[in-house]
């Protein structure tokens, strides 16, 4: 199989790498870029733990071919906020008990950020609908939904600003 040379932007940094035609975006992110915040949970698009943004849209990196992100912009959880500069969504997850074991958290943060970028003032039902593909076994989801609503409230009232803006 011929390898493909792909050029893309990863968390703001340009990348140029050779990938196998069957190589998954999740493997590129986790193994070649050592960005292990993107989690393997099921490998078949059922759990949402591997969600990343591709050109601003949330996609499940375990079912996206790396070759498909040629020319596009990829943001992983590591690109949403960092130690010195947490995104309001990340802070809200800590304030509201949205984090327990933390294994689903990166996918949840990625989905939450995408939701608030699309819809800055979601209702609780809109949050639940948008996040329905992301599984969490610890929290019963209450802390996660509280976190998204709380971040939305802070951002829309100007009390907090997304890192990427």
């Amino acid at each position: 199989m011929n390898k493909h040379l792909i050029k893309f932007v990863l968390n703001g940094e340009p990348r140029e790498i050779l990938v196998e035609p069957n190589e998954l975006l999740m493997n590129v992110v986790r193994e070649r870029e050592s960005l292990t915040g993107t989690k393997y949970g099921c490998g078949i698009g059922e759990c949402g733990a591997c969600a990343v943004h591709v050109d601003g849209q949330p996609l499940l990196s375990c079912i996206v071919l790396a070759a498909d992100v040629d020319g596009r912009e990829v943001v992983t959880v590591e690109g949403i906020g960092s130690y010195g500069q947490l995104d309001p969504v990340q802070e809200a997850f800590l304030d509201e008990g949205g984090v327990q074991c933390g294994y689903c958290t990166p996918g949840m943060v990625v989905m939450s950020r995408a939701l608030l970028n699309e819809n800055p003032n979601p209702t609780e039902l809109e949050v639940r609908h948008y996040m329905r593909g992301s599984l969490c076994r610890c929290t019963g989801y209450s802390g996660i939904v509280r976190a998204v609503l709380s971040a939305a409230e802070k951002e829309s009232s100007g009390k907090a600003v997304p890192v990427a803006s």
Partner: protein, 800 residues
């Protein structure tokens, strides 16, 4: 009811591992990588029961892979879970199977420099099987025609013969049950079944083993006890423990799935030792489902009561399926009896339990262990008895429950404690108020398509497995901790205890900060391994804060005594006259003598002074076993709405109550209750890992959604759930704390089935209560009672 002023315990601080978790930098076992690592894959049996005739690995080896078969592994029979003491430990397995006993059983394994090559090599292994008759239910396994899974297994130092595939039996009797039933005014007997539930922890079980030239190994594994991983690997491979180091990585949820050393761990070590390379095995989700599931049960429960609702006698017969390996059937049968005896005062009680091998995925502990099964049966039958007697179920529970001063069998018949803290009356009262229990809808008042019901169930979980007997206990139960005050006054907490995400280590850091009188941010949780920590049995049995926290608390007290002795020397004050309090402005603990304002020094100053004058490090190591196991009580009121057209059940409201003694972190404690509601709702209504009755293959084929894990869309809305914490103080716990985790899901299923009764007037005895079962019950109700189901008439009108 706190007995002293607390500065850290009780606040909702950000968890210390929180920023790493929300930014994606937290490392879990599947994320660990070392240079030049190879990739391991496991060949699993496609048959539920088969002799292994031959395994030919030559083609795989020709591809450059290193292969491991039964011939390569030590002929050591072991039990993955080394929590039971040796006389009570049943051992029936090898690193790789001598015979396939369930679909997905590890038969052989490969390691190769790339994942792709490992997968290709795995497919090149040729295994010849001779299929045997598979027993896919307890009934089939016990029939005379069944093929035996085992002739003999090891128990303690001897062998026991296995007859009719029955692994273990237990019998417990108190009083005279026959007399008790003779004295009863009303006796009901019902049979309840529960199905296996998949833990569905987000992190698939993973392991990496790095061998060194001196014969030592370093291991990272999904685990609930790093020390048990080390001890078991030492036993299997004959490696001295000081040459095995197991490093702690945080774990992405377990819910009991890693109490045992996961089967991939010794396989990975075998591959690493044979190949001489670091090897990593990351299970796929499908493999993970073949690894372990909750114990399915059939419980026949009979209870006799007086006309006034007083419980007189109870009898329970339990048949549980343990799958292909006996991991902890003996303690499981014990806790069924113990939890049964501890829910309600029962002067006369009889219990018979048997655990049966079947050719299915091995059963292991899952949140609540045997408690959700027992709670489902007992809390359902108590509701039914109350309704029959015309008594309010809440009143009947209050009248009979085992509370303050009673005896709690925390973990089976050999773990008994006198109850010293009890928030049940308070929680029932507050929950009833929130949900509107007095005005709950009654089944006879319901008409139309959508019907509502409110159900109540209560119960508990144990806090640990501690007991006073100095020898002869069934289970190992102790924890250790090292508390070290650093040269600048900051503190390191080095404890091998695992935090599965509930915040156990966060809580323990608070206990240490509280005792030492320093701000919470001064206490760091050390990254640890087995070489530099002392033993912790495992985070299970809701023991983390109560028992693990007690060890850290004792170490903090010892370190504090040393600190005050040194401070006294500096201040020329007797140490007993000194106290420590945190000073938020200084960001330090301040040591002072009340009444002598100029005799004052910070913890940091003492630590520095001690350091530069070579007085030594202020540190302590302690190892603690709790001698009681108090109940962590919960009460749960749940309101449902049933769509009688579709059988769908919606959770409208829930009023949850927890008695965990002192609440260490209210946000994280509430998180336990919210999570328990979700997993309990799944158990009650949807979750079922089924098998093909012919082949023993998983119905879900490894697809997660087909196993039906609850999603965010099924949970009740935020404003519709209340959580109350009882105002109690457990005198034997660190700062009055006891457990909470597993208790949060134990009564949930019964609260749902009782609510369904309230909505439909129908009792459900088999979990999960799927929409299909609800529709079938409504049809049957109509056929047998002639009571028209309005819904079906409306359906007919709509469709005609």
């Amino acid at each position: 009811m706190t007995q002293q002023k607390l500065h850290t315990i009780g606040n909702g601080a950000w968890r210390k591992d929180g920023i790493a978790k929300v930014t994606g930098t937290q490392v879990y076992a599947p994320d660990v990588a070392v240079p030049h690592q190879w990739f391991g894959r496991v060949l699993r049996s496609p048959f539920a029961h088969a002799e292994i005739v031959s395994v030919d690995t030559s083609a795989a080896e020709a591809m450059g892979a290193v292969c491991l078969t039964f011939d390569d592994v030590p002929k050591v029979r072991y039990n993955e879970r080394i929590v039971s003491t040796p006389p009570h430990l049943y051992r029936d397995r090898y690193v790789l199977a001598d015979k396939a006993r369930h679909v997905g059983e590890p038969i052989a394994a490969v390691a190769a420099p790339t994942e792709a090559l490992a997968e290709q090599a795995l497919r090149a292994i040729d295994v010849q099987y001779k299929p045997l008759k598979a027993s896919l239910s307890a009934e089939a396994a016990m029939s005379p025609e069944a093929d035996a899974l085992y002739e003999k297994v090891i128990l303690g130092t001897g062998e026991v013969a296995i007859e009719n595939n029955v692994a273990v039996r237990r019998h417990v009797e108190v009083g005279d049950v026959d007399q008790g039933f003779a004295e009863s005014d009303l006796i009901l007997e019902r049979s309840y079944t529960t199905v296996p539930q998949y833990h569905a922890q987000m992190e698939p079980k993973s392991v990496l083993c790095e061998p060194a030239r001196d014969g030592s190994i370093t291991v990272w594994a999904s685990a609930q006890s790093i020390h048990n991983v080390r001890i078991l690997l030492g036993e299997i491979y004959g490696i001295p423990l000081n040459k095995i180091n197991v490093r702690r990585t945080l774990v992405g949820g377990t819910f009991g799935s890693s109490i045992q050393v996961n089967s991939v761990v010794p396989v990975c070590v075998g591959l690493a030792l044979k190949s001489g390379h670091p090897v990593k095995i990351a299970s796929t989700r499908e493999e993970d489902m073949h690894s372990h599931l909750r114990y399915p049960s059939q419980l026949t429960l009979k209870m006799g009561v007086k006309r006034d609702g007083t419980v007189v006698a109870g009898e329970m017969d339990a048949t549980i399926e343990i799958g292909a390996h006996n991991i902890q059937a003996f303690p499981f049968l014990g806790v069924l009896a113990g939890f049964f005896a501890s829910l309600y005062k029962m002067p006369h009680m009889r219990y018979n339990g048997k655990a049966v091998y079947t050719n299915r995925t091995p059963s292991c502990a899952m949140q609540g262990f045997g408690a959700p099964q027992v709670h489902f049966a007992v809390e359902s039958l108590m509701d039914e008895l109350a309704v029959e007697l015309g008594i309010d179920p809440l009143e009947m529970k209050l009248k009979n429950y085992v509370g303050l001063g009673g005896t709690f069998w925390g973990h089976g018949p050999t773990v008994k404690s006198i109850i010293l803290s009890d928030g049940v009356p308070e929680l029932l009262e507050r929950g009833a108020e929130h949900i509107g229990w007095a005005d709950r809808p009654r089944p006879e008042e319901q008409t139309g398509r959508h019907r509502r019901g409110i159900g109540l169930a209560r119960g508990f979980h144990t806090s640990g497995v501690g007991q006073p007997k100095a020898q002869g206990a069934e289970m190992i139960d102790y924890s250790g901790a090292i508390v070290k005050i650093n040269e600048d006054g900051s503190v390191d907490l080095a404890q091998s205890l695992m935090d599965h995400g509930g915040g156990t280590l966060e809580a323990i850091a608070k206990i240490v900060a509280e005792e030492l009188g320093v701000p919470l941010d001064k206490v760091g949780i050390s990254p640890v391994d087995t070489k530099t920590t002392v033993y912790d049995v495992t985070t299970h049995a809701t023991r983390g804060v109560y028992a693990g926290g007690a060890a850290a608390h004792k170490a903090a007290k010892t370190a504090k005594a040393k600190l005050l002795a040194l401070a006294g020397r500096m201040l020329e004050v007797m140490p007993d006259a000194l106290v420590i309090e945190p000073d938020e402005e200084l960001g330090q603990g301040v040591i002072f003598c009340p009444g002598m304002p100029d005799h004052k020094v910070t913890v940091g100053e003492v630590a520095r002074h001690s350091h530069v004058n070579s007085w030594g490090t202020i540190a302590a190591v302690e190892s603690v076993r709790q001698v009681t196991a108090p109940p962590a009580y919960v009460t749960q009121f749940i309101e449902v709405e049933v769509d009688t057209y579709t059988g769908a059940v919606r959770t409208l409201r829930a009023a949850l109550g927890a008695d965990c003694g002192t609440v260490v972190n209210p946000i994280l404690a509430a998180g336990q209750m919210e999570g328990g509601l979700s997993k309990g709702a799944g158990y009650a209504l949807i979750e079922d890992i089924g098998w093909d009755p012919e082949t023993g293959q998983l119905d879900s084929k490894g697809f997660w959604i087909d196993g039906k894990t609850p999603s965010v869309s099924e949970a009740p809305l935020l404003g519709d759930v209340t959580i109350d914490f009882a105002d109690t103080y457990e005198p034997t716990g660190p700062f009055g704390a006891k457990g909470i985790g597993e208790a949060s899901m134990n009564p949930v299923a019964a609260a749902y089935t009782n609510a369904l009764y309230g909505a439909l007037g129908v009792r459900f005895y088999d979990l999960p209560v799927t929409p299909e079962k609800i529709l079938a019950a409504l049809r049957e109700n109509e056929a047998t009672t002639g009571a028209p189901v309005e819904a079906r008439r409306e359906t007919t009108m709509v469709t005609s």
